[in-house]
Each structure stands twice: as C-alpha cells, then as structure tokens.
Amino acid sequence: MFKHWKHGLVGVVAATTFTLPLVSTAADLSDNKVKIGVLSDMSGVYKSLEGPGAVIAAKMAVEDFGGSVLDKPIEVISADHQNKPDIAASTAREWIDSKEVDMITGLDNSSVGLAVQGLAKEKKTITMNTGAGSTALTEEQCSPYGIHYVYDTHALPVGTATAMVNNGGKKWFFITADYAFGHSLRDNTGAIVESMGGKVVGNVNAPLSTNDFSSYLLQAQSSGADVIGLANAGQDTVNAIKQANQFRIVQSGQKLAGMLVFITDVHSMGLDIAQGLQFTTAFVWNQNDEAKAWSERFNERQGAMPSMVQAGVYSAVSNYLKAIKAAGTDDTEAVRAKLGEMTLDDMFVKGGKIAPNGSMIHDMYLVEVKKPADSQSEWDLLKVISKIPADKAYISMADTKCSLVN
C-alpha cells in the first residue's frame, strides 16, 4: 500500500518537475524552505574561533533577516566535522542528499574546506567558506559554487609582511606548522618578503600541536633574523608567542609576526604577553559603529566578542539570503550569479565583491595588539594601523590559476 503511494508520489514529483519550468512563479524555493548548514570544528582546536559561535552568528543572520525569505522559513542546522575531511564530506553528503541543505558555511580547516567544496561542486550546492585559509579553494581547486569569504593565505601575509619589511625587518626566519596550510602561508609570505628586497634566512617545520617551541625559537634567535614569522595558527601560535616571551626574544630586539592570529587568541593570551604583535585581520569588532553594535549583540549570546570568522559567517549568511530574495529562487546557479553581481556592504565588509573564482575580494586590516595601558576594556585589544586595499590583498583575476576564469 505504502509502496504504491510512494510510486504515485514519485510520478507526481516527476510530472511537476517536467512541467515546472512552464509554470514557474517568482517564489521558487526547493522543498519550501531554505536550509543553511554550519559545518565547523565544535570540539577541537578551532572551536573558539569558529565552532558554536558560528552557529550563533548564522542564527542571528536569519533572525535579522526576519526568519523567512520569499515567504518561506529559513532553518539553520549544524554539525561537528572534528577536523576530519572524511567526516566533513559524509556529513555534507547527507545534508545535501537527504536533509535538503541549500548552503554550507563554516568549514574551518583547509583540508575540510577542500573536501566539502569538491563534493558540493559535484552536487551543485553553494559553499561559503569562512574558516579555512588555503588559496587552493579559489585557485587550483576553484569551484563555480564555492565562495571563500573571510581571508586566505595570500591576503594574510600581504599586510603584515609588507609593513614589517618597510620598517626594517629584512631578514626573516619562519617557524612553520608542518602541514598544507603552514607551508602555503610560509611560501606566500617568503615570496612577498623577497619581492621587497628582504631575505628568508631560515625555516623550521614544527609538527602540528607542538607543546614546546623553545628549541625552534632559539634556532630563530641564533639565526640573526630581524623577524620571526609564525606560519601557524591557534594553540601553536599562542604557545610560540608565550614561550618567546619567556626567552625574552622580543625584548632582545627580534620581532614576532603572527601570520594568522584571531582576536580570541589575543584575548586568551592577554596583553602583557601579546602586546606589540602585528597581524592581519578581516574584521575588528569595533572598527565602526555598525560592527560594534552587532558585536555587542553577539557578545551577549556567546560571552565573547566575535572572531573575524564568526563575523564572516553572519555576513555570508545574510548576503546569501539577500541573493535568494533578489533572484526570486534558491536555485544554485541563479543565486551564485546574483552573489557575483552584488556589492557586499554590511557590518563586516564594505564594497566587497565575489569574483568569478569564488574569492570574496575585500579590504583587510593590519592591526597591532595594544599595550596594557592603552586598553580601555576587556576586549579593547587591537589598534588598526593601516588598511590593506582589496586589490592588493587578494589575487587578481588576471593572475588567478582558477580554470573558471582563464
């Protein structure tokens, strides 16, 4: 009985699918709702900078949008990818195949990002990656439906390396996290340093989750470098900075350059240890009144100010919903085309553009961690030193290796 009913239903669905294009109306939403999946590291090393905070940001975006688009409800679901590409891909597959997820965001960790973007390309689903760094997402492995939203390993070193070389930091020594992200960051930074007349005098590849960096720091110290570049992230960066402090590296004249630092890291390190550290970020929570108002609302729910990644999730989800509204459909091709036409303006980004290779081209900021005496409040940690214009920060469409463009 049930079987027959099911066959009948398939027939009806097939019939509507074939006739739909002829009678298509403005409000054309698959499954009568828009479902957004936040796939993030909910329990591991990236939890604090994306994780549950990203889910809050996505939900805030939906609430601020009014909870519905084209008169249909919007739903947010989330899962933990545990930093494992296979888990991430199978979750994404289940979401797309049987849970009607229309867009996947989050995806911190480059190997997770690449795996899910590859799958979503096959399944014609939009991904808006807010957490991963690798430029491969928009270069060698670019996808017509993959958007890379917040930062990449090209944008991060541009500001930091340029500013440091200009201030006399000609000789660099790298402490590199020994995996794809670290290598890519080191190579891109090294290229910028050398293009400006600087020199890379040494490098050590430290295993991921190294506890004690002192041995590498001493190698960096004896190399005579002006700048020690930390091509790593999260716990590794925090440990390295803290231990550099123990060995008086900065006091004895060498500078530290964090290649990927989040405000949540600075907050947990404290200003005593982190002061003077320069790095590049896409977002500072008090960069303008709009950002400040939003961040304070976020803080009430999360108990911490947003990282650039969490703010990026809010912006990505908002603009995705705007694109659906403007396109009058949640059809992947139509929404992606609309996103490409839009100029993105909100609390996160001003005048942002999503390029054909999926890279969201926007201004970045070079910031310095304040001295304890200059900080007015718990989260008043960063001072913006300069703005890195969008066209300098991101790979241009003339230079991209993405097969969709050239």
Partner: protein, 298 residues
C-alpha cells in the same frame, strides 16, 4: 653545529623530559600496582593546570570569593585536590572493574578524559590561556654560560627530578614501599598478613593522580593552559612507559628523561620528525625487547 647550541637544546630537551618522566612515573605506578591503564592521566594533568589557573584568576569572577591562590599554595593544594578526585574515581568507578579485562579500565578512563576535556573546552579558549601566577622570584633568566635559561624552567626541572627520585626511593627502599610491592606480587597473601590492600590501592591511585596534578601546576607557567594540553601529551607518555617497561618505576623515569633529550635533539637535526621519533623508538623496543628496556619478561 657548536657545542653551545647542542648543550642548549639538550637542556630544553631535559625540560620536556622531566614532564614525560613525571607523567610516565604516575602511569607506571598505577599500572604496576593496580594493573589499570589510566588513560585519564593526561586529563588529570590538564585538570591540575586548570585548577591552578582558576584558583589564581577566576575565583572572584566565578564564585565571588575574593581570594587568590598563588603559585606556591597551588603547588601543594592542587596535587591534593587532584589526588582526592583520584580517590573518588578509584573508589566509585575503577574498583568495579578490577576483575574484568584491561580494556574496560582503559575505556572508562578514556571516557573520563573526554568528559573533562569537553567540560573545560566549554569554558576556556581551546588555543590556550596563559597562567599569570608565576612568582616574581622565578621570573628572570639565568646565565648558564652557554645560554640564558628562564629561571622558572630550571626550577621546574629541579622540582620534577626531586619528586621522581623521591618516589622511586620510597617505593623501592622503604618498608611501606615494600608492602606495596608485596600487594602487587600476591594480593591474597599480603592481605593474609593483615595489610589493608584495598586502601593501599586507593592511595596509590590517588598518589599517581596527584603526581599528574603536580605536573600540571608546574607546566602551567611554561605552556598555555588548554583543554587539549593533556591529550597532546598522553600518547607520547604512553610510548615512554612502553619503552621503559610497563610497571617499572626507574624505567619510566629514565626513559622519560632520555626521550625528552632525544626529542630535543631531533628538533635541531630534523625538526619534522620531532613528534614521531619517540614512536619510532617504541617500535624498535617492541621488536627487540618487548618487555621494555627496564621491564622484566613475565
């Protein structure tokens, strides 16, 4: 490469080694006397560091108690607290598993690890929070001739070595220690002589847990206090115990120190292998001396 660099790196290796030694010592004591593979050891180490951090920075903010527990007080109090938790774990949970296969104890303690990690990563940044309570008197650097070395790290090395060798002396050369060993050797016979073996077991587990807590307090000013700090370390420490020989006290201490040194020197000569060299040695030891370097074949 100059002698100076090698000496400096060796000292840093020793610095890591004392933590390996102290943790693997606790594991070896627990395994030797209880036959339990305590997977929660890393979590107890993490807990030690966090109790010190909370005692120093968060008591007022969280509980409205305007007391700050300094480093020296933590050094005494934290091992006691973690030891007390050890008593609870042993009395309420582990005690039920002694008759069963090793794997049950391992699963239980692994579960405890996950619970503790999850609990702390709910409240603290996973990237790590620095412990600000390092005493002024230990905050400088010492000129050792071949390098400037942070005073605190030197202090941690000395304290750890003292604790390790005192423990060894206590177990191998005192009357109480010999009773403990008798309890391991033949539980029924020892009990027949009127010794309270279950109490000895509880205290042993508490002592092992306390050692992990102490290591956590000592580590807090050096490394960032992070919910995953124990998880990063525990696998290596297990390898150390296997290399030293399961249950061998001196084996655990010496192999902890030696492997810290070897890892430290690997960081100079071939850094990418630093996290694997210990496992490579473990494989060699298992192939050629399956009972470990200091263990006895059964």
């Amino acid at each position: 490469m100059s002698m100076q660099v090698i000496l400096a790196q060796a000292l840093l290796g020793l610095n890591v080694g004392v933590f390996y030694a102290m943790l693997s010592l606790g594991l070896a004591v627990i395994f030797g006397l209880l036959n339990i593979i305590n997977f929660a050891h890393g979590a107890l180490y993490m807990l030690g560091a966090f109790i010190a951090l909370i005692g120093y920075s968060f008591l007022e903010q969280w509980f409205g108690i305007s007391i700050q527990i300094g480093f020296w007080a933590s050094l005494i109090l934290v091992p006691l607290l973690v030891g007390l938790l050890g008593v609870l774990i042993e009395r309420l949970l582990l005690r039920r598993l002694y008759e069963l296969d090793h794997i049950y104890g391992l699963l239980l303690t692994f579960g405890i690890t996950l619970i503790l990690q999850g609990l702390f990563s709910n409240y603290f940044n996973v990237s790590g929070t620095p412990y600000p309570g390092q005493p002024e008197s230990l905050s400088g650097v010492v000129n050792l001739g071949f390098m400037y070395f942070p005073t605190y790290r030197l202090f941690a090395i000395v304290v750890s070595l003292l604790v390790c060798f005192t423990t060894w002396f206590f177990i191998e050369h005192t009357k109480l220690g010999s009773r403990l060993r008798a309890g391991v050797e033949n539980r029924d016979l020892t009990q027949a002589f009127g010794l309270n073996v279950p109490l000895m077991i509880t205290l042993t587990f508490a002592f092992g847990a306390g050692l992990a807590g102490l290591a956590g307090v000592l580590a807090a000013p050096i490394y960032s206090v992070s919910p995953l700090m124990g998880a990063d370390l525990i696998i290596v420490v297990f390898a150390v115990v296997v290399i030293g020989g399961m249950g061998s006290i001196m084996g655990a201490i010496l192999s902890g120190l030696a492997l810290g040194l070897i890892e430290g020197l690997t960081k100079v000569f071939y850094p990418p292998a630093a996290s694997t060299v210990i496992f490579f040695l473990m494989v060699l030891v298992l192939l050629f001396r399956p009972a470990g370097l200091f263990g006895k074949e059964k």
